[in-house]
Protein backbone atom coordinates (compact mmCIF):
# COMPACT_ATOMS: atom_id res chain seq x y z
CA UNK A 1 0.00 0.00 0.00
CA UNK A 2 3.04 2.24 0.44
CA UNK A 3 5.12 3.67 -2.36
CA UNK A 4 6.72 1.27 -4.84
CA UNK A 5 10.23 2.32 -3.92
CA UNK A 6 9.76 1.90 -0.22
CA UNK A 7 8.11 -1.42 -0.80
CA UNK A 8 11.11 -2.67 -2.72
CA UNK A 9 13.71 -1.89 -0.06
CA UNK A 10 11.32 -3.23 2.53
CA UNK A 11 11.12 -6.56 0.72
CA UNK A 12 14.90 -6.80 0.35
CA UNK A 13 15.36 -5.98 3.99
CA UNK A 14 12.91 -8.67 4.99
CA UNK A 15 15.02 -11.31 3.24
CA UNK A 16 18.27 -9.94 4.69
CA UNK A 17 16.75 -9.70 8.14
CA UNK A 18 15.78 -13.32 7.83
CA UNK A 19 19.32 -14.31 6.91
CA UNK A 20 20.66 -12.37 9.89
CA UNK A 21 18.18 -13.92 12.30
CA UNK A 22 19.06 -17.38 11.00
CA UNK A 23 22.82 -17.04 11.43
CA UNK A 24 22.98 -18.29 15.02
CA UNK A 25 20.83 -21.28 14.10
CA UNK A 26 23.11 -22.01 11.15
CA UNK A 27 26.19 -22.09 13.36
CA UNK A 28 24.43 -24.30 15.88
CA UNK A 29 23.30 -26.69 13.15
CA UNK A 30 26.83 -26.91 11.77
CA UNK A 31 28.07 -28.62 14.92
CA UNK A 32 25.01 -30.80 15.53
CA UNK A 33 24.98 -32.06 11.95
CA UNK A 34 28.73 -32.64 12.09
CA UNK A 35 28.12 -35.10 14.92
CA UNK A 36 25.24 -36.58 12.94
CA UNK A 37 27.58 -37.15 9.99
CA UNK A 38 30.11 -38.87 12.24
CA UNK A 39 27.42 -40.98 13.91
CA UNK A 40 25.94 -42.00 10.56
CA UNK A 41 29.28 -43.11 9.15
CA UNK A 42 30.36 -44.87 12.35
CA UNK A 43 27.09 -46.83 12.35
CA UNK A 44 27.69 -48.02 8.78
CA UNK A 45 26.34 -45.53 6.25
CA UNK A 46 28.46 -44.12 3.40
CA UNK A 47 29.36 -40.46 3.50
CA UNK A 48 27.02 -39.64 0.62
CA UNK A 49 24.16 -41.53 2.25
CA UNK A 50 24.56 -39.45 5.41
CA UNK A 51 24.53 -36.35 3.21
CA UNK A 52 21.38 -37.41 1.33
CA UNK A 53 19.56 -38.09 4.61
CA UNK A 54 20.35 -34.56 5.83
CA UNK A 55 19.52 -32.98 2.48
CA UNK A 56 16.07 -34.54 2.46
CA UNK A 57 15.07 -34.24 6.09
CA UNK A 58 16.55 -31.36 8.13
CA UNK A 59 15.68 -32.82 11.52
CA UNK A 60 18.12 -34.12 14.10
CA UNK A 61 16.15 -36.55 16.25
CA UNK A 62 14.17 -37.93 13.32
CA UNK A 63 17.27 -38.47 11.21
CA UNK A 64 19.12 -40.13 14.02
CA UNK A 65 16.25 -42.53 14.71
CA UNK A 66 16.06 -43.06 10.95
CA UNK A 67 19.66 -44.19 10.53
CA UNK A 68 19.31 -46.41 13.61
CA UNK A 69 16.43 -48.17 11.85
CA UNK A 70 18.32 -48.33 8.54
CA UNK A 71 21.39 -50.03 9.96
CA UNK A 72 19.33 -52.46 12.06
CA UNK A 73 17.33 -53.25 8.89
CA UNK A 74 14.04 -52.29 10.51
CA UNK A 75 10.75 -52.53 8.68
CA UNK A 76 9.37 -49.74 6.49
CA UNK A 77 6.39 -49.42 8.84
CA UNK A 78 8.79 -48.88 11.71
CA UNK A 79 10.52 -46.16 9.73
CA UNK A 80 7.26 -44.42 8.85
CA UNK A 81 5.82 -44.59 12.37
CA UNK A 82 9.03 -43.43 14.02
CA UNK A 83 9.30 -40.42 11.73
CA UNK A 84 5.64 -39.63 12.27
CA UNK A 85 5.83 -39.75 16.06
CA UNK A 86 9.18 -38.02 16.44
CA UNK A 87 8.33 -35.26 13.99
CA UNK A 88 4.68 -34.84 14.96
CA UNK A 89 5.61 -31.76 16.94
CA UNK A 90 6.38 -30.02 13.63
CA UNK A 91 2.70 -30.35 12.76
CA UNK A 92 1.89 -28.30 15.84
CA UNK A 93 4.51 -25.72 14.91
CA UNK A 94 3.23 -25.52 11.34
CA UNK A 95 -0.27 -24.90 12.65
CA UNK A 96 0.95 -22.06 14.88
CA UNK A 97 2.98 -20.68 12.02
CA UNK A 98 -0.01 -20.79 9.68
CA UNK A 99 -1.70 -18.19 11.93
CA UNK A 100 1.35 -15.96 11.91
CA UNK A 101 2.23 -15.68 8.20
CA UNK A 102 1.01 -12.80 6.06
CA UNK A 103 -1.52 -12.96 3.25
CA UNK A 104 1.00 -13.31 0.45
CA UNK A 105 2.36 -16.46 2.01
CA UNK A 106 0.40 -18.70 -0.38
CA UNK A 107 0.19 -22.47 -0.58
CA UNK A 108 3.02 -22.66 -3.12
CA UNK A 109 5.39 -20.91 -0.74
CA UNK A 110 4.12 -23.03 2.12
CA UNK A 111 4.84 -26.19 0.18
CA UNK A 112 8.45 -25.15 -0.37
CA UNK A 113 9.28 -23.27 2.83
CA UNK A 114 7.30 -25.65 5.05
CA UNK A 115 10.10 -28.14 4.52
CA UNK A 116 12.28 -26.00 6.76
CA UNK A 117 10.07 -25.92 9.84
CA UNK A 118 12.35 -26.98 12.70
CA UNK A 119 12.22 -26.26 16.44
CA UNK A 120 14.69 -23.40 16.17
CA UNK A 121 13.45 -21.83 12.93
CA UNK A 122 9.92 -22.00 14.27
CA UNK A 123 10.93 -20.37 17.54
CA UNK A 124 12.66 -17.46 15.78
CA UNK A 125 9.86 -16.98 13.24
CA UNK A 126 7.25 -16.95 15.98
CA UNK A 127 9.16 -14.48 18.12
CA UNK A 128 9.15 -11.95 15.25
CA UNK A 129 6.93 -8.95 15.79
CA UNK A 130 3.88 -8.83 13.56
CA UNK A 131 3.33 -11.11 10.59
CA UNK A 132 5.93 -13.33 8.96
CA UNK A 133 6.44 -12.77 5.24
CA UNK A 134 7.62 -15.35 2.72
CA UNK A 135 10.78 -13.36 2.11
CA UNK A 136 11.65 -13.19 5.78
CA UNK A 137 11.02 -16.91 6.27
CA UNK A 138 13.01 -17.79 3.15
CA UNK A 139 15.94 -15.73 4.45
CA UNK A 140 15.62 -17.35 7.83
CA UNK A 141 16.10 -20.81 6.33
CA UNK A 142 19.23 -20.04 4.27
CA UNK A 143 21.99 -20.37 6.87
CA UNK A 144 20.39 -23.22 8.85
CA UNK A 145 20.05 -25.24 5.61
CA UNK A 146 23.62 -24.45 4.65
CA UNK A 147 24.93 -25.26 8.13
CA UNK A 148 22.98 -28.48 8.39
CA UNK A 149 24.17 -29.90 5.08
CA UNK A 150 27.76 -28.69 5.15
CA UNK A 151 28.14 -29.92 8.73
CA UNK A 152 26.82 -33.35 7.80
CA UNK A 153 29.14 -33.54 4.81
CA UNK A 154 32.16 -32.53 6.87
CA UNK A 155 31.35 -35.00 9.65
CA UNK A 156 30.65 -37.86 7.25
CA UNK A 157 33.78 -37.32 5.13
CA UNK A 158 36.02 -36.93 8.18
CA UNK A 159 34.36 -39.96 9.72
CA UNK A 160 35.46 -41.96 6.70
CA UNK A 161 39.06 -40.75 6.95
CA UNK A 162 39.80 -40.66 10.70
CA UNK A 163 40.98 -43.79 12.55
CA UNK A 164 38.23 -46.09 13.75
CA UNK A 165 38.69 -45.74 17.52
CA UNK A 166 38.54 -41.96 17.22
CA UNK A 167 35.39 -42.10 15.09
CA UNK A 168 33.67 -44.43 17.51
CA UNK A 169 34.50 -42.09 20.43
CA UNK A 170 33.15 -39.20 18.36
CA UNK A 171 29.98 -41.25 17.95
CA UNK A 172 29.27 -40.18 21.51
CA UNK A 173 29.16 -36.52 20.46
CA UNK A 174 25.59 -36.60 19.17
CA UNK A 175 24.43 -38.13 22.44
CA UNK A 176 26.39 -35.41 24.23
CA UNK A 177 24.32 -32.88 22.30
CA UNK A 178 21.08 -34.64 23.20
CA UNK A 179 22.13 -34.62 26.86
CA UNK A 180 23.00 -30.93 26.63
CA UNK A 181 19.53 -30.19 25.25
CA UNK A 182 17.56 -32.21 27.77
CA UNK A 183 19.45 -31.77 31.06
CA UNK A 184 18.94 -28.00 31.51
CA UNK A 185 15.19 -28.41 30.92
CA UNK A 186 15.04 -31.42 33.25
CA UNK A 187 16.89 -29.40 35.88
CA UNK A 188 14.50 -26.44 35.65
CA UNK A 189 11.13 -28.10 35.10
CA UNK A 190 9.94 -30.70 37.58
CA UNK A 191 7.15 -32.02 35.36
CA UNK A 192 9.47 -32.60 32.43
CA UNK A 193 11.96 -34.17 34.82
CA UNK A 194 9.45 -36.81 35.91
CA UNK A 195 8.31 -37.46 32.34
CA UNK A 196 11.84 -37.78 30.96
CA UNK A 197 12.92 -40.12 33.76
CA UNK A 198 9.86 -42.23 33.03
CA UNK A 199 10.74 -42.35 29.31
CA UNK A 200 14.31 -43.36 30.12
CA UNK A 201 13.07 -46.00 32.58
CA UNK A 202 10.77 -47.45 29.89
CA UNK A 203 13.62 -47.38 27.41
CA UNK A 204 15.82 -49.38 29.80
CA UNK A 205 13.00 -51.92 30.32
CA UNK A 206 12.55 -52.30 26.56
CA UNK A 207 16.27 -52.80 26.13
CA UNK A 208 16.97 -55.37 28.83
CA UNK A 209 13.82 -57.19 29.93
CA UNK A 210 13.25 -60.65 28.43
CA UNK A 211 10.49 -60.58 25.82
CA UNK A 212 10.58 -56.80 25.58
CA UNK A 213 14.15 -56.74 24.33
CA UNK A 214 13.09 -58.42 21.10
CA UNK A 215 11.33 -55.19 20.19
CA UNK A 216 13.44 -53.32 17.65
CA UNK A 217 15.19 -50.09 18.60
CA UNK A 218 12.94 -47.91 16.44
CA UNK A 219 9.75 -49.19 18.01
CA UNK A 220 11.34 -49.04 21.48
CA UNK A 221 11.88 -45.29 21.04
CA UNK A 222 8.31 -44.86 19.80
CA UNK A 223 6.77 -46.88 22.64
CA UNK A 224 8.81 -45.25 25.42
CA UNK A 225 8.25 -41.69 24.20
CA UNK A 226 4.55 -42.10 23.41
CA UNK A 227 3.73 -43.74 26.77
CA UNK A 228 5.77 -41.21 28.77
CA UNK A 229 4.43 -38.18 26.88
CA UNK A 230 0.88 -39.55 27.03
CA UNK A 231 1.10 -40.07 30.78
CA UNK A 232 2.74 -36.65 31.16
CA UNK A 233 0.02 -34.91 29.17
CA UNK A 234 -2.58 -36.60 31.35
CA UNK A 235 -0.85 -35.83 34.68
CA UNK A 236 0.52 -32.39 33.82
CA UNK A 237 -1.40 -30.66 31.04
CA UNK A 238 0.54 -27.60 29.85
CA UNK A 239 -0.76 -24.07 30.26
CA UNK A 240 -1.70 -22.04 27.22
CA UNK A 241 1.48 -19.92 27.37
CA UNK A 242 4.01 -22.64 28.03
CA UNK A 243 3.16 -24.78 25.00
CA UNK A 244 6.07 -25.66 22.69
CA UNK A 245 8.63 -22.94 22.80
CA UNK A 246 10.95 -24.74 20.42
Amino acid sequence: MGLQKENHTYIRNEFLQGIGDGSAIGIGYLSVSFTFGIAAVSSGLNWWQAFVVSLMNLTSAGQFAGITIMVSLGTYIEMAVSQFVINLRYALMSISLSQKVDRDFGWQKKMILGFAVTDEIFAVALSRKGEVSGRYFAGLTVLPLLGWNLGTLAGAVLGDILPENLVSALGLAIYGMFIAIVVPVVKENKKIRIIVFFAVFLSFCLYYLPGLKNISSGFAIIIASVIASGAGAWLFPVEEEEEVKG
Binding site: Q49, Q63, M70, G171, L172, G176, V185, V244
Partner: protein, 101 residues
Protein backbone atom coordinates in the same frame (compact mmCIF):
# COMPACT_ATOMS: atom_id res chain seq x y z
CA UNK B 1 21.97 -51.27 2.46
CA UNK B 2 20.04 -52.08 -0.73
CA UNK B 3 16.92 -50.48 0.67
CA UNK B 4 18.62 -47.19 1.44
CA UNK B 5 16.57 -45.21 -1.09
CA UNK B 6 13.28 -46.69 0.06
CA UNK B 7 14.12 -45.85 3.67
CA UNK B 8 15.12 -42.30 2.74
CA UNK B 9 12.01 -41.72 0.65
CA UNK B 10 9.78 -42.93 3.49
CA UNK B 11 11.63 -40.64 5.91
CA UNK B 12 11.32 -37.72 3.56
CA UNK B 13 7.67 -38.35 2.69
CA UNK B 14 6.48 -38.66 6.28
CA UNK B 15 8.56 -35.77 7.63
CA UNK B 16 7.60 -33.49 4.75
CA UNK B 17 3.89 -34.20 5.01
CA UNK B 18 3.90 -33.79 8.79
CA UNK B 19 5.35 -30.31 8.33
CA UNK B 20 3.66 -29.08 5.21
CA UNK B 21 0.11 -30.49 5.33
CA UNK B 22 -0.85 -28.68 8.55
CA UNK B 23 0.84 -25.52 7.26
CA UNK B 24 -1.25 -25.51 4.09
CA UNK B 25 -4.51 -26.92 5.42
CA UNK B 26 -4.97 -25.59 8.95
CA UNK B 27 -6.71 -22.40 9.77
CA UNK B 28 -7.38 -23.03 13.45
CA UNK B 29 -5.30 -23.91 16.46
CA UNK B 30 -5.49 -27.33 18.02
CA UNK B 31 -7.93 -26.96 20.88
CA UNK B 32 -7.32 -30.20 22.75
CA UNK B 33 -5.15 -29.43 25.73
CA UNK B 34 -4.20 -33.09 25.94
CA UNK B 35 -2.79 -33.18 22.42
CA UNK B 36 -0.95 -29.89 22.88
CA UNK B 37 0.62 -31.19 26.09
CA UNK B 38 1.54 -34.49 24.47
CA UNK B 39 3.30 -32.71 21.62
CA UNK B 40 5.08 -30.35 23.99
CA UNK B 41 6.61 -33.29 25.85
CA UNK B 42 7.51 -35.45 22.84
CA UNK B 43 10.89 -33.85 21.99
CA UNK B 44 12.26 -34.47 25.47
CA UNK B 45 10.98 -38.02 25.86
CA UNK B 46 12.27 -38.95 22.41
CA UNK B 47 15.74 -37.59 23.17
CA UNK B 48 15.75 -39.33 26.55
CA UNK B 49 14.64 -42.69 25.18
CA UNK B 50 16.98 -42.42 22.22
CA UNK B 51 19.99 -41.63 24.42
CA UNK B 52 19.54 -44.21 27.17
CA UNK B 53 20.63 -46.94 27.28
CA UNK B 54 21.90 -46.88 23.64
CA UNK B 55 24.61 -44.34 24.49
CA UNK B 56 26.44 -46.93 26.60
CA UNK B 57 26.98 -49.04 23.49
CA UNK B 58 27.82 -46.18 21.15
CA UNK B 59 31.60 -46.37 21.31
CA UNK B 60 32.40 -50.07 21.54
CA UNK B 61 33.86 -49.58 25.03
CA UNK B 62 31.35 -49.68 27.88
CA UNK B 63 33.63 -48.03 30.49
CA UNK B 64 34.65 -45.40 27.94
CA UNK B 65 31.05 -44.59 27.10
CA UNK B 66 30.05 -44.46 30.76
CA UNK B 67 32.85 -42.02 31.52
CA UNK B 68 31.77 -39.89 28.55
CA UNK B 69 28.14 -39.88 29.65
CA UNK B 70 29.13 -38.92 33.19
CA UNK B 71 31.13 -35.94 31.91
CA UNK B 72 28.28 -34.94 29.58
CA UNK B 73 25.72 -35.04 32.41
CA UNK B 74 27.90 -32.97 34.76
CA UNK B 75 28.75 -30.34 32.14
CA UNK B 76 25.15 -30.10 30.91
CA UNK B 77 23.94 -29.75 34.49
CA UNK B 78 26.36 -26.86 34.93
CA UNK B 79 24.78 -25.20 31.92
CA UNK B 80 27.53 -25.70 29.34
CA UNK B 81 26.45 -25.45 25.70
CA UNK B 82 25.88 -28.22 23.17
CA UNK B 83 29.29 -28.00 21.60
CA UNK B 84 31.53 -28.17 24.71
CA UNK B 85 29.39 -30.97 26.16
CA UNK B 86 29.71 -33.01 22.96
CA UNK B 87 33.47 -32.39 22.64
CA UNK B 88 34.32 -33.23 26.24
CA UNK B 89 32.06 -36.29 26.25
CA UNK B 90 33.80 -37.68 23.15
CA UNK B 91 37.25 -36.76 24.42
CA UNK B 92 36.61 -38.50 27.72
CA UNK B 93 35.24 -41.57 25.98
CA UNK B 94 38.28 -41.67 23.73
CA UNK B 95 40.80 -41.42 26.57
CA UNK B 96 38.89 -43.75 28.88
CA UNK B 97 38.43 -46.27 26.06
CA UNK B 98 42.18 -46.21 25.59
CA UNK B 99 42.81 -46.61 29.32
CA UNK B 100 40.45 -49.60 29.75
CA UNK B 101 41.48 -51.38 26.56
Amino acid sequence: MNHFWIYVIIMFGVTYLVRVLPFVVFREKIKSRYIRSFLAYIPYTVLGAMTFPAVFYATGSLPGAMAGVFVALVLAYRGKGLFPVAVFASGTAFLAGWFFM
